[in-house]
Structures are given as C-alpha cells and as structure tokens.
Point group: C2
Chain length 377, copies 2
C-alpha cells in the first residue's frame, strides 16, 4: 500500500493523490479552481442526483466560498443545505457537534447522505466527527481552506473534539470519501494561519522528505503566500499530501508508523495545553515542539547541531515562533503523562536523526526532557 | 465468513461462538459461571497485567455482580476501576456518555486500555460508544446481563445513544474484543425484561432458524426463566448468538443482509417513538412490530395466515404484547420517514415469507401499511 501521484495533463490541471487504504481508498484532488467543481467530483464518487448534502462551514469561509460551493453542489443535482458554525479552537466541543447533529436531523440526512466539511481543521474535525457518529457513520468530504488543514488534518480520517483535560480526547477515525484542495482559497487566509500551516510542511521535510526541505530552504522567505508563490505552493501541497497519504496508507489507525506524524506534536500539545488553548495556533505550537524535540535529539546524540540549526532556520523563515515558553517543569511532565501518545505509561517521542528521518523513542528520561527544555533559547 | 460453534468438553463447559470478521474477529463465550472468569478471559486476549480497565455498569447490576467482576479482573492483575451510571432508556444520551468520558479521563485510560460494559443494552450501547470515541477508539468487552443484550445488542458492534428525534441516531460501529455471556446473571433479571428479550429470540426463529422456532413452540411457556429451564436457555443463547454472529460476519456495517436483523424493528421503533420511550420495553415494541410486519406480509400475499398465527402464538407464549397501539396514521408515516432504515426516501421493510425466512421490500405503499395496521386486533 502506498500513495500514487497521477500526473495531470498540464501544469494547470489538478493533480490527484490516492490514499491507498485497502478497505476505503480515496482521492486527494489538488488544483486551482477545483472548488467550483466540487459537485461534479461528488457525483463522480457515485452519489446520485437528489442525495442530501449538508455543508458545514464557519462564518469567514462562508463569506468567501459558501456560495460557490452550494452552487456547485446544486448544479450537480445534489440537495445541498448549509450550516454555519463558530469554529474557533474553543468551540471544538461536543456541544458544537450536537449542533451539527441537529442540522443533520432537521435535513433528515440518511445513511447514503453526505456531509461536506468546508473550512479549517476545526470545521474538518467536528464535521468529520459528526459524520462518524450520525446514524453510526455517514460519508464525509473534506474541503480544507487553511494550509494546516490541507497538508495535515483533512487527510487521514482523524476526527474529534476537545475535552477540558486535553485536545482531541473525544473522537473517531473516519476516513473521508474525497479531499478537495483548492490553493486559491489560501488567498483569503490570515497570514498568521498561513505560517502556522507551514509548520506542518516543514515537519514533512524533517520526517521524510529532504527534497521538500531543500526546496523550502531555497525559497528563503516562507512567511507569506506571495513570497512562496503558486508553483512552490502547488508543489508543497502535493508533496505534503503524498507524504501524509503514504503514512496513513501504511498505518491507518496509528498503530506504529503513523506516530511519526506526531513529530513536534507531543511537546506542542504541552505548550497548547499549559499556555491555554488559543495562545498559540496549533501550527505555532508544533513549530516550538519541533525545535524542542530537536533539542532533545541533540542532547541524546541522535542528530547534529547543524541539522538543528537548519530546522530552526526554516522555522524562522516561515515567521514561526521557536522559543520554549516559561513553563513549570512538573506541569510539563504531568501534561506529557496525560497525552494520548503514552503507551503503558511511557511517553513516546518522535525524535529527528537527520533532515528526512526520525525515530520513535520511549526511553527519554524526565531529566533529559527538562534539561533540553532549559537549554532552549 | 461464517460463525463457527466450538463444541465444549462437557455440557457444563462454556461454548464459544466466533464472530468471523476479517479485520477483527472475536469470541462470544456462553456458559454458567463465566462471569467469575472475566479477568482470565481478558488476559487471554493479550491484555497485560497492569492494563487499565474501566467497568461501566448500573446500580442494580452493580449490586449483584459488581464485586465478582472487579475481583476477577483484579485477581488477573488488571488495574480495574468501576463507574456506576443510571442506565434507563431516558438516560441513553450524550450527557451520560460524557460521564463515562470523564471517568476515562480521571483514570487516565490509554489507547491500550479497556472498557468493560457490564449490564443491559443501554449500558452496552453507551459504554461501547464511549469506548468508540475515547482517544478515537479503545477496546471494549461486552458482558451483557439481560436476555435482550445477550442475544442481540452485545454482539455486532452497534453502539450509540438516543437523540430527541429518534433512537440511536448518534452512534458508531465499534466491535467488542470479547462478548461474555453468563446465563446465571438472568436469575436476577425482572420477569418483564426476560420476556422482552425473548422477542429477539423469536425473531431469530422467524428470520432464519425454524428449528429454534420449533424448540420454542415445544416449550409451551416461555414467559419465565423457570419455565424455560437451563437446557433450553443455553440452547437459545447459543443459537441466537450464532445467528447474530453469522449475519454480522456477512455484513458488518449493515449494507445489506444485516438489515434482516431489523425484522420487527421498523414498526417497533414507531411504537417506541410515538408512545414515548419507556411506555414499552424495546423487546415488547419489537414483538408488536413483528406481528405488524407479519400482517403487512399477509396483506401482500407473502406469507400464510397459519404462519402469522404461529408467530402470534409464540409472542403470546412469551407473555409479550402483540396489540398495535392506537396511533395516528399520519404520525406513523412521518415517523417511518425519519427512521434510519430509509434509503433514498424509501422505507425498507423486512417481511416474513415463512417461519425461517424473510425478504427486504422497499415497495410497501403507505396505504398497505395503514390498512394492515388497521386490521390488527
């Protein structure tokens, strides 16, 4: 099982990356303007005319793209309705999922109906979870409109909401039937969120794609969509999606390999939790977490100061934070113990060994962790 | 894929029926006294000493069996804790699932941890759904203590809670790792609940097991556990579990064949919904629903008055209700449209064609339905 990239006819045509799951493979379609073709794409999946579709989105995204999406679905003969929800990280709760269920009930969604998640990671997680749990699971199509969701959250079937005790503690694995990525939607993304998404792109470079890492280094400035430019943007979307698809295909439910996608996330979650959700964007916390993981790898002799410097430089080039916040050591350790990535009480860290390669370690002592965090500038 | 029954050494040994799912097969163990061996059985699944186990149960079941279960788990080296919840049909809500999630959080359940559902169908549905949605899915073992849960709900991975608009609208498919059935726990089951469970046993007879149907007819009185006796009890538990296992193995997610298990349920749900949850027990509503489905089959010329009379006689022998309540026809039709078993707006009925055989029909007109219901005594 692997992810295959299908070459398109011309540079402007969308590219399709297949997520090769044995039970339920699905395509990731990436290209300028594909948003307006959502309806056709859904019909191509086999959904008949008249199928009920519930589009879940948030106010900002609705303003920019709601009409295009609804028109595309309706033109294709689908019975599309829309639900606009507030979708900040602090609204990512069971209560908001209940609102989606209410809309599903009002529209009388059936087992053959479809939910479309149009928006960032929070919309995707909640609409995906609502789909996973309505009538014991109905179809979902992910249409991410943030860089973070495009390169990470929308692919792989992780859905869920937060619990006061931690992020994403409540959720389900529920693979989408299609992921539709239109880079044009990034034009309206706030700069800070664009940068946060870039953290996950850098992650793919470090964990397995040195070529992507070098391409990012060559760009110099990664802090705005204009600086990145359309060609590199399409490339990094494709390479990130392909990387994610490969890992997901090899390990659908995070038994082993998929854990490498958590690079930067273990300590990133600590930062998010202890600083309070909302202080840092997820991608910003991941950037800090990657630099911190790099410091632990350095302390353990797993990788070199030069590679740590390259990683840090890329984080800086993307305009991302990399300073470890002033957190109480005991609180950090307690928070790590509450993290989902604990197995048999042991915290599992994804640590870099080179640009393009990581290792999973369960033998990182509390002393090593705290000393490395102390050492961070 | 089929269900295999493994013959045990002696009549008193438990029997094991395998649910032959390709991805995640699991055993159903049936026998007097197996409750006290839960700990060993869990260890045999591969759960190591020290594994965290959360036992979810309700006050009545806790009084009778809580200590035995906890002792068995702890003796086997498992770190077992217990949560007692109110588990009436009207507590089968997202709010109660949130209580289970709270307990999971307090106990710091990890991905390798286990939830044990000890009780009737409501406990099984909620504990199963909580397990399905904690950390995106942790293991669950079903230990049903009502006849209804033993022969139906505990096997097959359906989990969920009610929505004000209908039963089980919110839920997930989440197969257990083990189902442990101890007939001795039925000794403390209220008589009315025992009878309600018998409705599902009769269902297995009608949909595919004429031999079981005849065995039930031969018993004469099915209305109490004493009248049924231990030998027939073990037989009907085994045959029901085997029937359920066979159907589930052939159709894990209710794409086709599994729909036959809904025999009596489509109209049963209407009765439950329109009379208000709690007026009838689920099994009682199913009994009414089977007789009503039989009447529709009769009206369509699908089966004979003699078979309808045999079905009705067995329902009466089990002390179950069979009279259709006085419901508004328009409300019945509206409720059918809201049922999960609607596909493309068409209500799908499971209709009997003989004792031991059913058909799925989407061509039952509103007139036929209402006329048949009118005709019911």
């Amino acid at each position: 099982m692997s992810a295959a990239t299908t070459a398109a006819g011309s540079a402007c045509s969308p590219r399709t990356i297949q997520v090769e799951l044995s039970a339920n493979p699905y395509p990731v379609v990436i290209g300028e303007g594909v948003l307006a073709r959502l309806g056709e794409q859904v019909r191509e999946l086999g959904f008949k005319a008249g199928t009920k579709v519930l589009v879940v989105t948030n106010p900002d995204v609705d303003t920019h793209y709601g009409d295009v999406v609804l028109a595309s679905l309706r033109t294709a003969g689908l019975a599309a309705e829309q639900l606009v929800i507030e979708a900040g990280e602090d609204q990512k709760t069971p209560a908001t999922v209940a609102l989606i269920h209410e809309a599903a009930f009002r529209q009388r969604l059936e087992r053959g109906s479809l939910i479309v998640a149009l928006g960032g990671g929070v919309v995707g997680d909640m609409a995906g979870f609502a789909a996973a749990t309505w009538l014991r699971g109905i179809a979902v199509v992910q249409v991410p409109t943030t860089l973070l969701a495009m390169v990470d959250a929308a692919i792989g079937g992780k859905t869920g909401v937060n619990h006061p005790g931690g992020k994403n503690l409540i959720g389900a694995f529920h693979q989408p039937r299609l992921v539709l990525i239109d880079p044009a939607t990034l034009a309206t993304l706030p700069q800070r969120e664009f940068r946060a998404g870039m953290a996950e792109v850098i992650k793919y470079g470090v964990i397995g794609d040195p070529e992507l890492f070098s391409a990012l280094e060559a760009a110099g400035d990664l802090s705005t969509i204009e600086a990145v430019g359309p060609a590199l943007l399409q490339t990094l979307l494709e390479r990130s999606a392909a990387a994610k698809a490969r890992v997901v295909a090899a390990d659908e439910r995070e038994g082993g390999l998929r854990a490498i996608l958590n690079y930067g996330h273990t300590l990133g979650h600590v930062v998010e939790t202890l600083c309070g959700y909302g202080t840092f964007l997820h991608g910003e916390a991941v950037a800090i977490g990657m630099v911190a993981a790099g410091e632990i790898a350095l302390a353990m002799g797993l990788w070199t100061p030069a590679d740590q410097a390259r990683q840090r430089a890329l984080v800086v080039a993307a305009g991302l934070p990399q300073r470890w916040p002033d957190l109480d050591g005991a609180a950090v350790l307690a928070c790590l113990q509450g993290d989902k990535k604990v197995r048999d009480g042991q915290v599992r860290f994804v640590l870099p060994t080179a640009i393009g390669s990581v290792e999973i370690r369960s033998d990182v002592s509390a002393e090593t962790i705290l000393a490395a965090l102390e050492r961070l500038p």
